[in-house]
Structures are given as C-alpha cells and as structure tokens.
C-alpha cells in the first residue's frame, strides 16, 4: 500500500522529496487514522472488533518504513540540525505505541459492544467511540513523530499541537464516567494555557533572530553570543518556550494537571499520557536548546567551525531549578498516595526530573543516556499500568493499593511483573532502570553537575519507599475482603503487554549495548559520517522490533 506513495514522492522536486520521504511513517499513520475511524463506525461487529488490531498493524508498518527511511541517504540532505534524532525516536514511539494499543485492547466501548451483542441496544454510529479513540491515538503518535524532524518553529508548533489536541479527546472518551470528563476539562484548559505560553516564547524567539528556521536561528544566536551576550529577547523567549514545553513533560511549574488527569482518565489513556507527551516534550526541548548551542558542540558560523560557549547561564539555571524541583516534588508527592494511578502520576513527574538531567548534560553523553532512559521508563511505566488494566473489580477499574493486596495469591504472574517493573523503577542493578540511571548520572558528572547527581541520588532513595509499596503490597500483603472481587479482564491483551514489559525489562540489559549505540547515533550532529549512522539505525530497528 505504501509503494504508490513512494512513487508519488519521487515525482516531487528533489529537496521536497527528501523531506517527504522523511515523514513517510507519519503519512502512513495519518492514513491509518482515517482507516481506523471508518472501521470504527461500520455496522459489522467483527470489523469494529478489529480496530485495535488494525491500529497495531499500521504502527508496525510505520516502524518498518522508519527503518527503511532512516537507512537511506535521505537524511543527509534534509538540512535538519539533528537528522538522525527521528530514527531512534520514531521506532521507540511506534514500538511503545503497539504496547499501548495492547493495553487499551477492547476496553473502550466494552459495555456498549456487549449491549449490541446481547441485543439490549441496536447499533448507532453516534454512540460508538472505539474507532474515534484509536484514530486520535494514531494522530497523536503521528504528531509526536513529526516533532522529531521539525526543522523550523512552525513545524515544531504544529507538531506539538497535533500531539496534544487528540489526547484531550482521548481522555474525555476513555471512561464513561464523570471523572474522565473532569480530567479532560482540566487537561484541555491547562494545555491551552501552556500552548499559548510557548507560542509567545516562539514569537519572541522569532523577534530576536528574525527567522523561524532552526539552523539559521542557531547561527544568529551564535553570532550574538560571539559578539557580546545573547539578546534579552532571545533569553526571555527561550525561558517562556521551555516553561511552556515543560507542560508536556509535566515538569514542576506545569505539573499540576498530571495527578488529576492520570487518576481521572482510563488506565489505557493514563499509560498513553505517561509516555507519549513526554517524548514530544523531550524532543522539542532538545531541538529548542540546540538553537542556543551546547558547550563543546561545533557550529559553522560564517564558514569556520566555532565551538559554542554552551547554553547561556539563565537557560541552564532554569533547567537546573526545574529539574531539581520536579524530582523533589514528584518523589515527595508520591509518598502520600493510596491510589496507584495517582502515585504513578507523581512518579512520572519525578522521572521527568531525571530526564531533565540528561538534557542539562548536553549533546554527546546527555542525549544518549536520555533516549536510553526513555525507552526503559516507557517499558516500566506501561508494564505497571498494563497490570492495572488487566484487572477489574465489579466491572470497575482496580485503582487503590488495598485492591492489590495479596495479588500474588491468585495472579502470581501479574504480581511478579508488577514487582519487577517497580524494582526496576527504583534502580536496582541487574534491571534496565539501573543502567539508564547510571548513564544519566555519568553524563551529568562528566559535565561537572555533581550537585545535581547527589540530589538525584537522594531522590532515588526517597522514591524507593513508594516503589517498594508497589512491590510489597501485591507480593506480601494478605488478601482481604476487598480483593476477593478482583478478577482478570476478559481481554487477554493487557496481561500479555504486562508480561512482555516485565520480560523485556529482564532481557534488555543484555542487549543494552546495541540500544545505547543506536541512541548515541541519533544524538549526533550532521557532521557525522553517513555510514555509521545507518548501521546503528538497523541495529535500533532490530532491537525494538524484538
């Protein structure tokens, strides 16, 4: 189905065609969204039930296309600042996307579909939501992928908006309960507020540099840095843009939505929100901050190579303060929680704090460890929520710790996978969480950020308390009256997703080398040789396809 597309692409003039080939996976996902939307409202129940499967197929296809695209020479001529960034990012997004589809499975419209089957209600296209949900699902993924190869501010703004708008609807649709709607309302309004903030930041950046294209902006700013300080306009614009994008990461000033939205939304959507917006935010920050130029990162300025003096002091200060506050408030907040989803919300805030360490640490080491850590975090977070998705109590979602007490007695596999994911989140060595943290800390210290590492270490110790509860309650708790009613969801896919995540957490350390070098390749500036880049992309493809 994608051969004609490529033929069309080759007909378009050369630079345009290279850009189009780059976004081939996204185009595929758009097509998928349309197909899924149509399938969703078809009369035949079998087609409606196939919607998750079709979504997964489209995602798998986009992975194959990404692998093919980023292997070919289209990347060199694309003029992007970090051309290879997309390779690793898109594969990760699609891979975790498939897992999220498994977690969602048939949970959307489950009551409605059962009513149609039992004849209590006859089919009415208006009331059916599953098709739309997965359509928005694919659109949001496409938006996140687009962020990775944005070359200018407009593209970045549109990609960010495309990745967040569908999620507002997904939250509203995820559960037929009032909580979901309240969550969606909060999410939408605060999202709009932050969008306006970073848009204004973009405006100021445009004002300071006079252009919207990243590479030109970088040169202008480098010139400004070389001749006296970077203009105040650029600094204020940069700070507002960063703080706006921090909403996607749920970093401190902008993190207030996370606990309520994660608790209100359905488990599948919480899993989605826990990971995908984070990647969008991280990629946006990487692109934005590379405008200001990293220390030791060589930039062509009117001909000769100038090693930039590193991020301007205010920008580093913002990032440092946001990182510390995010880690601390995230970890501290989670201690009081009894609701697992709300606890995982705070944990995702804390994890964003650790990601910010990678960003502060700068291009060569910082980005590698960051992307590697993201993959690990994605698996762990999705694994935990998959366990919740595969359980239900009287038709309701299992949310509180008391419900999970003594899970080991009746569902040992789920209890073990939850324990493994939680232990890996703590950062206990043999599992993948540890290697991620190790790389992050190493990169930070290499850029003389020891204070940040010590604070992160203390925060890890604080986080060990509540992650240990996620290990202790299911494995050691005694089953009480509430847990008698907890049984498995009929749909087998969330269980399989949970087991896959736990298994991959155990196996990943052994293939960590290939993943890490793939992440390293994606973080390189265009000056790197083409051969090396493509080799690593294949490795990444094979690894995440596993």
């Amino acid at each position: 189905m994608n051969e004609p597309m490529l033929a069309l692409a080759s007909a378009i003039p050369s630079d345009m065609s290279s850009k189009l080939t780059l976004i081939a996976p996204e185009i595929l996902l758009f097509a998928g969204a349309v197909a899924v939307a149509l399938l969703g409202i078809s009369r035949r129940a079998s087609l409606r039930h196939a919607v998750p499967l079709v979504t997964a197929l489209f995602l798998a296809a986009s992975m194959v296309v990404t692998a093919w695209v980023y292997r070919s020479d289209a990347t060199a001529s694309s003029g992007l600042m970090l051309p290879m960034l997309g390779g690793y990012a898109k594969l990760m997004i699609a891979g975790i996307g498939i897992l999220l589809v498994m977690v969602a499975g048939s949970s959307i419209d489950r009551r409605l579909e059962e009513a149609f089957e039992s004849g209590r209600a006859e089919f009415d296209p208006i009331r059916v939501m599953r098709g739309e949900f997965f359509a928005f699902f694919l659109l949001s993924l496409a938006g996140t992928m687009l962020v990775s190869n944005a070359s200018d501010l407009i593209w970045l703004f549109l990609a960010l908006e495309l990745s967040s708008l569908p999620t507002y609807v997904m939250v509203a649709v995820s559960r037929g309960k009032r909580k979901a709607q309240e969550a969606s309302m909060k999410y939408f309004f605060l999202g709009a507020l932050s969008a306006a903030t970073f848009l204004y930041g973009f405006a100021l950046l445009y004002g300071a540099t006079g252009t919207l294209v990243f590479s030109e902006m970088r040169d202008v700013l480098a010139m400004q840095a070389a001749t006296g300080g970077v203009s105040t306009l650029a600094i204020v614009g940069g700070v507002m843009a960063i703080l706006g994008i921090c909403f996607k990461l749920a970093a401190v000033p902008m993190h207030f939505y996370a606990p309520d939205v994660y608790e209100g939304a359905g488990v599948a959507t919480t899993a989605f929100l826990g990971f995908i917006p984070k990647i969008a935010g991280v990629l946006a920050l990487i692109l934005l901050l590379s405008i200001f130029g990293w220390s030791g990162h060589s930039i062509q300025v009117d001909g000769q190579l100038v090693s930039s003096a590193g991020l301007p002091a205010p920008i580093t200060a913002v990032l440092w303060m946001v990182a510390v506050l995010t880690m601390t408030l995230g970890n501290v907040g989670a201690i009081l929680q009894r609701n697992v989803k709300r606890m995982l919300a705070y944990s995702s805030i804390a994890q964003s704090g650790y990601l910010l360490i990678g960003i502060i640490a700068g291009p060569p080491a910082g980005f590698e460890s960051l992307l590697f850590y993201l993959l690990g975090y994605g698996l762990m977070n999705t694994g935990l929520l998959a366990v919740l998705a595969s359980l239900e109590r009287h038709g309701e979602e299992v949310e509180t710790l008391e419900d999970l007490a003594g899970l080991r007695v009746r569902h040992p596999w789920l209890a073990w996978s939850m324990a493994i994911c939680a232990i890996s989140l703590i950062g206990i060595p043999p599992l993948v969480g540890f290697f991620g943290k190790l790389a992050l800390f190493g990169a930070a210290i290499e850029n003389s950020q020891m204070a940040l590492v010590v604070i992160a270490a203390v925060n890890t110790a604080i986080s060990a308390y509540y992650y240990l509860q996620l290990v202790g309650v299911p494995m050691l708790g005694q089953p009480n009256a509430r847990t008698q009613a907890v049984q498995l969801v009929p749909d087998p896919w969330p269980r399989r997703a949970a087991l896959f995540c736990a298994a991959s957490i155990l196996i990943l350390p052994f293939v960590a080398e290939r993943i890490y070098s793939a992440a390293a390749a994606s973080g390189k500036a265009p000056t790197s040789a083409k051969g090396e880049a493509s080799a690593s992309v294949e490795a990444a493809a094979r690894a995440s396809a596993q």
Partner: protein, 132 residues
C-alpha cells in the same frame, strides 16, 4: 478589570485598522514607534487573556481568554515580521489561526459535554479529582 482589557483591545484594533500605506513587504520603513506599540499591545493582550483565564469562572469565557492569548502571540509575530521585513511571521500567524480554530471546535464540544453532565458552565463545579 475586564473593562480595562476591553478598552485596550479596541484601542489597538483601531490603530491597526488605519490603512497601512502599502502592504508590500520590503518597502515600509518600520519606524520603531509603531513596532513598540504593537509589541506593547500584544503583551497586553497576552496578559489580559491570562488574567481573564484566572478570574472568570465561566468555561466559555476561559476558552475565549486562551484565544486572546493566542492572538496576542500572533500580533507579536506580525510586529516582529515587520521589524525583520520577513513574511514568515505572517505565515506562522495563519497556522496559529487554524490551530486556534481546531481548538475552538474541540473546546466547545467539550464544554457542551460538560454542560450536559452538570447543567452548569462554572469550572469550579468540577473538583472531584483532588488530593485526598
């Protein structure tokens, strides 16, 4: 508070409405006065939107305030475009408008859903999800 915002808005729109001599890109010598004025107005718009968002309890008004903030940013883009004699600012504004439209559609759909659920547009009616 809101009346103050309204007066500034129509002041800036009137200023804008004066026939720009020629809209050709390169020609108009951008005298700093008008640019600064435009920037001031955009900043005011942004702040006005923010304040409105924080104070007004009606959800539709809150949404309109976010729209206001978007327009503030758009105005700034145009002003900067004028300074740099570069059209890309205005291209960006067009995209902002489209996105704002999309958001409007989504916002109103959501507000209708919420109204149907709680028979009220007051955003403070919705505070079930909170810290225990």
């Amino acid at each position: 508070m809101s009346c103050f915002a309204l007066t500034t808005i129509n002041a800036s729109t009137t200023m804008l409405m004066q026939p720009m001599p020629t809209l050709t890109l390169a020609s108009t010598a951008s005298d700093p006065a008008t640019v600064n004025a435009a920037l001031l107005v955009s900043a005011l718009l942004f702040v006005c939107g923010l304040v409105g968002f924080l104070t007004r309890r009606n959800m539709i008004i809150m949404f309109l305030c976010t729209e206001l903030m978007f327009q503030g940013a758009a105005l700034a883009m145009i002003a900067f475009g004028n300074v740099h004699h570069d059209a890309s600012g205005q291209v960006f504004v067009i995209f902002i408008l489209t996105v704002a439209a999309a958001e409007a559609a989504l916002a109103l759909g959501l507000v209708v859903l919420l109204y149907r659920r709680r028979e009220t547009l007051d955003s403070q009616a919705w505070n079930e999800l909170k810290e225990a």
